[in-house]
């Protein structure tokens, strides 16, 4: 095969499919202008193939390449690192395609494609990306195959490609299990790569959580060892917001120096939590987590905080006592902070608080009166609350009366503080959905929630959920049930898409398995595995040795297998047997004593429509088998011819 030959249409189509599959997922992170450039270059390629147009002049291609380089330089500011690198490669791949004059160009383009497929994992390591990369690799393999034999039918190409990839599987497994692993990603990713991650923040303004309400993204997954707590107790504790400036709630002072008193009481729930990366220090845990988690510190407001922002999916084994009392002997300073309010805002709410506190010093009574007031105020729970002005709480409580959980929590805590009761806002997630496939509880960004904690003498910090007053179903059955029917909901949350939800359940269960077994296969797990198979102190040398050994053994086995196969049957025999088998399936098996030419004649009579083809194959086999010429090319031609034979 000459490298200088112009690629055929079939080869170009396979190459185009490979490139498109490779580049499409990159569109999620490439700059928009670059995606557009790539797309139009690919489109031009299609047009040229279709119209059989002439390949653009080399100077033009060079010009586009330089322009794209300049664009990348302007956009990223430099050429170093993965982002500009991938961007440049993407453009170059498209240009290579445009240039494609010879099969050598195709080979180069395939090499680039394979590299860019690997590049996908720089950005995302989910099951979906792995699937896409695998599809790309399959297409690349087929493209390379089509360079060898462009006339084979696509199904045969697909099969051969899949077989080739499958043959690499054992090596892949060995490398996966035994290649020495490093903690975290292999390539040092700059921290800003995580800026796009969504999730809770450590401050709250009206609207900040309802933003999340529309996001389907998974925040974390939980597997309970035993039965899960009832929905009304599924409060996943996140940042505790103490300081209020009239509009924004922020985290107050907390310390991790001394663990606060914690007396476990009530039922305990043990669970494993797989947290999606959110680029924040805090962890999420079921109210109220006890101290003593090895990977995290414990704060004075009963939260768990990691030592560094969570940037990779992390798994924690946690425990919760939902009904325990915390903070019975709370620090004075903390309680002082918990009644502090800015002096000037929301006069009407202050007046309301004064009313509610009239004539009683009992915090319990004030609390009961406040809840009662809220219940009677005819407040509406909605994802689209109206915009609020300076006195946001006044407007919410007395004018608009429509709000999301942050409005409720904010207003409630404000009123409590104004009445002199220590209170604070707690943000986190509430609820979650149990995936029926693998029984994990999936908590999404749309489950983000804000509630309140009130400090009561003798009972400590008591959780009060003001949202539950207005929309009790939010707590019991989730967001979709609590919102009025006409409100815009995330697509999947609508009941009419239940089949789609089932599909999502399956997909997420699969993804979870992938996360745990593939992405979660970290150095610790590798060590565990090696210890289990009998290596007491495995280090990288042991791993290297094992890796080399098993790869060697596997290669040897493959060689022996291939050799045995070759010994057993030469390709001509295999082809002839497959031909005979194929026709046997159509009811015309060869008699053992029947010579090829006689068989061909009989087949020609049995299948008159394919007479010429069948006789030709039989005749060619007879010539190759019993004749003097031993040209491998003729054998290969015959093999292809038999493979393509279709009697339908």
């Amino acid at each position: 095969m000459s490298d200088a030959r112009a690629p055929s249409v079939v080869q170009q189509l396979w190459l185009l499919a490979t490139t498109t599959t490779t580049l499409a997922p990159h569109a999620t992170h490439l700059p928009a202008w670059l995606t557009a450039v790539c797309a139009s270059l690919l489109g031009l390629r299609v047009l040229l193939s279709w119209r059989r147009g002439k390949v653009p002049h080399q100077a033009l291609i060079l010009l586009i390449a330089v322009a794209a380089g300049v664009g990348v330089k302007i956009d990223f500011g430099h050429f170093f690192g993965k982002d500009p690198g991938v961007a440049l490669l993407a453009v170059l791949l498209c240009l290579k395609l445009l240039e494609g004059r010879s099969t050598r160009d195709i080979r180069a383009a395939i090499l680039l494609s394979l590299f860019l497929q690997l590049g996908l994992f720089f950005y995302d390591q989910t099951l979906a990306i792995a699937g896409l990369a695998l599809t790309g690799a399959l297409l690349a393999t087929i493209t390379l195959l089509s360079l060898q034999d462009e006339n084979a039918p696509p199904v045969a190409q697909l099969r051969t490609g899949a077989v080739l990839l499958a043959q690499g599987l054992p090596f892949m497994l060995i490398l996966f299990v035994l290649f020495p692993r490093v903690q975290g990603p292999l390539w040092g990713l700059p921290a800003d790569a995580y800026s796009g991650m969504s999730g809770l923040s450590d401050s709250m303004t009206p609207g900040s959580i309802s933003q999340l309400g529309l996001s389907d993204a998974i925040a974390f997954r939980v597997e309970f060892h035993g039965s899960p707590p009832p929905p009304t107790q599924r409060y996943w504790r996140g940042p505790v917001l103490t300081s209020f400036d009239g509009r924004t709630w922020r985290t107050g002072r907390f310390t991790t120096a001394a663990e606060p008193a914690y007396v476990p009481a009530g039922p305990a729930y043990d669970y494993g939590l797989t947290l999606e990366p959110h680029n924040q220090n805090w962890l999420l845990a079921l109210d109220f987590p006890p101290p003593g988690v090895p990977q995290a510190r414990y704060t004075s407001d009963y939260r768990l905080v990691a030592n560094a922002p969570v940037r990779t999916r992390a798994r924690f084994n946690l425990r919760a006592y939902p009904t325990t009392a915390v903070g019975v002997d709370e620090n004075r300073d903390v309680l002082t902070d918990a009644v502090r309010l800015p002096a000037t805002f929301n006069p009407r709410s202050r007046a309301l608080a004064r009313d509610l506190a009239t004539g009683t010093p009992s915090h319990d009574l004030i609390l009961a009166r406040t809840i009662e007031h809220l219940r009677r105020s005819d407040l509406t729970y909605t994802l689209n609350p109206p915009l609020l002005g300076t006195h946001a709480i006044d407007e919410f409580l007395f004018d608009t009366r429509r709000g999301f959980c942050e409005h409720f929590a904010s207003a409630f805590v404000f009123v409590m503080r104004a009445a002199g009761v220590p209170a604070r806002v707690v943000t986190g997630y509430q609820g979650g959905e149990i995936n029926p496939i693998d029984r994990t509880l999936v908590v999404r960004q749309s489950d983000a929630h804000a509630w309140a904690e009130v400090w009561l003498a003798g009972r400590g910090w008591t959780r009060i959920d003001p949202t539950a007053v207005a929309a009790p179903r939010r707590i019991e059955s989730g967001l979709a049930a609590a919102l009025p029917e006409w409100e815009a909901l995330p697509f999947m949350m609508r009941p009419s898409f239940s089949w789609l939800r089932d599909l999502r359940h399956h997909w997420e269960a699969l993804s979870n398995t992938w996360n745990i077994w593939v992405l979660g296969y970290n150095p610790d797990r590798q060590q565990d595995l090696l210890k289990r198979i009998g290596f007491s102190r495995p280090d990288w040398r042991t791993l290297g040795l094992l890796l080399g050994l098993s790869a060697g053994i596997l290669t040897l086995l493959l060689f022996i297998w291939a050799f045995a196969l070759r010994q057993q049957r030469d390709p001509l025999d295999r082809a002839w047997s497959s031909f005979c088998r194929k026709l046997a399936r159509h009811g015309a098996a060869r008699h053992p004593w029947e010579g090829p030419v006689d068989y061909g004649k009989r087949l020609a009579m049995t299948f008159p429509r394919h007479a010429a083809r069948l006789k030709d194959i039989a005749g060619r086999y007879a010539r190759l088998r019993y004749g003097s010429s031993t040209d491998d090319r003729h054998v290969r031609d015959l093999v292809q011819c038999i493979r393509r034979l279709n009697l339908k």
Binding site: H591, G595, A622, S628
Partner: protein
């Protein structure tokens, strides 16, 4: 292309002997494979005509020897007679000194006479009075025998039958061929008018070309399997000899050559097998020569690799 010669002979022969294409082709195969042919059939089906046609078409010197019980070896080989002028014995060659001999009803002669001919066939030379005389080339014997009238005959012994490469039966012509025969011209006159279509040298070329036909390893495997099956079959008294094996390959080569191929297929072997093996094999019980059904079964028992 040497096989053109063969085709020409066959085309011309088919015009004279009607409806016997396969038998003619087998006879020519035998000739090209340098073997001798035994035709076994009742009288009047055209045995003599066949020999005559082949001789005439290929331009061979033809001699017919009618075998009778009183025929002596010298009647075939020739005699040395004292020449008074030269005062020495001079050899007078007998009818065996021809390129194509038709030995008619060979089983009527005594074993002694038979063996004289058979030795000549094997050695391609005759010895008379301690003098060796080389026979002409090509040298081809077509012997006929009548299987149904065995009284007063000396059936050829097995060892002698082995000298014939092939045995064929002509059989009665089919209806349309016989009709054409009955209504058409006298075959003898037709033959008289027919000229040779090839020269004897062409026949030698054909013989050499047949020798060059490829026999693949896989085909040898097949032939050996076939030979082995005759040796192990419980229905046969003894199997085929290595000489028969050589004959089988030689005949298959010639058949492939006439077919215009440069390599032998299992089909060729299968085609010639009954004719090469038939007179060499004997059924286990009664000692009669193996029936065609048994030969066909032998072929079916061996798988083509």
């Amino acid at each position: 292309m040497p096989h053109r010669h063969a085709i020409r002979v066959l085309e011309a022969a088919n015009c004279i002997i009607l409806g016997k294409e396969r038998e003619l082709r087998l006879a020519l195969t035998c000739l090209i494979a340098r073997g001798h042919l035994l035709i076994e059939d009742v009288p009047g089906v055209g045995k003599t005509t066949l020999a005559h046609v082949i001789a005439r078409l290929s331009g061979l010197q033809f001699q017919r020897i009618q075998f009778t019980s009183d025929l002596l070896p010298a009647d075939i080989i020739g005699v040395s007679i004292f020449d008074r002028d030269a005062t020495t014995f001079r050899f007078h060659p007998g009818p065996v000194f021809a390129q194509l001999i038709l030995a008619d009803e060979i089983n009527r002669a005594t074993p002694k006479t038979q063996s004289a001919l058979l030795e000549a066939m094997e050695e391609h030379q005759v010895t008379a009075d301690a003098e060796t005389h080389v026979l002409p080339e090509p040298f081809f014997v077509i012997a006929t025998q009548n299987p149904s009238h065995q009284i007063g005959t000396f059936p050829l012994p097995e060892s002698q039958l082995d000298r014939f490469l092939m045995r064929i039966r002509l059989g009665y012509p089919d209806r349309s061929a016989e009709r054409a025969l009955l209504m058409g011209e006298d075959r003898r006159e037709l033959l008289e008018r027919q000229n040779a279509v090839i020269r004897p040298e062409d026949l030698l070329t054909l013989q050499r070309a047949a020798h060059g036909v490829t026999v693949a390893e896989r085909l040898v495997d097949y032939v050996q399997a076939l030979l082995g099956s005759t040796r192990h079959s419980p229905e046969l008294a003894g199997g085929l000899s290595p000489r028969a094996g050589l004959g089988l390959i030689g005949a298959a080569r010639a058949w492939a050559l006439i077919d215009g191929r440069d390599h032998v297929l299992p089909e060729d072997v299968q085609t010639v097998f009954p004719h090469v093996a038939g007179h060499r094999l004997h059924a286990a019980g009664d000692g009669r020569s193996a029936p065609p059904e048994l030969l066909a079964q032998l072929v079916r028992d061996v798988a083509v690799a």
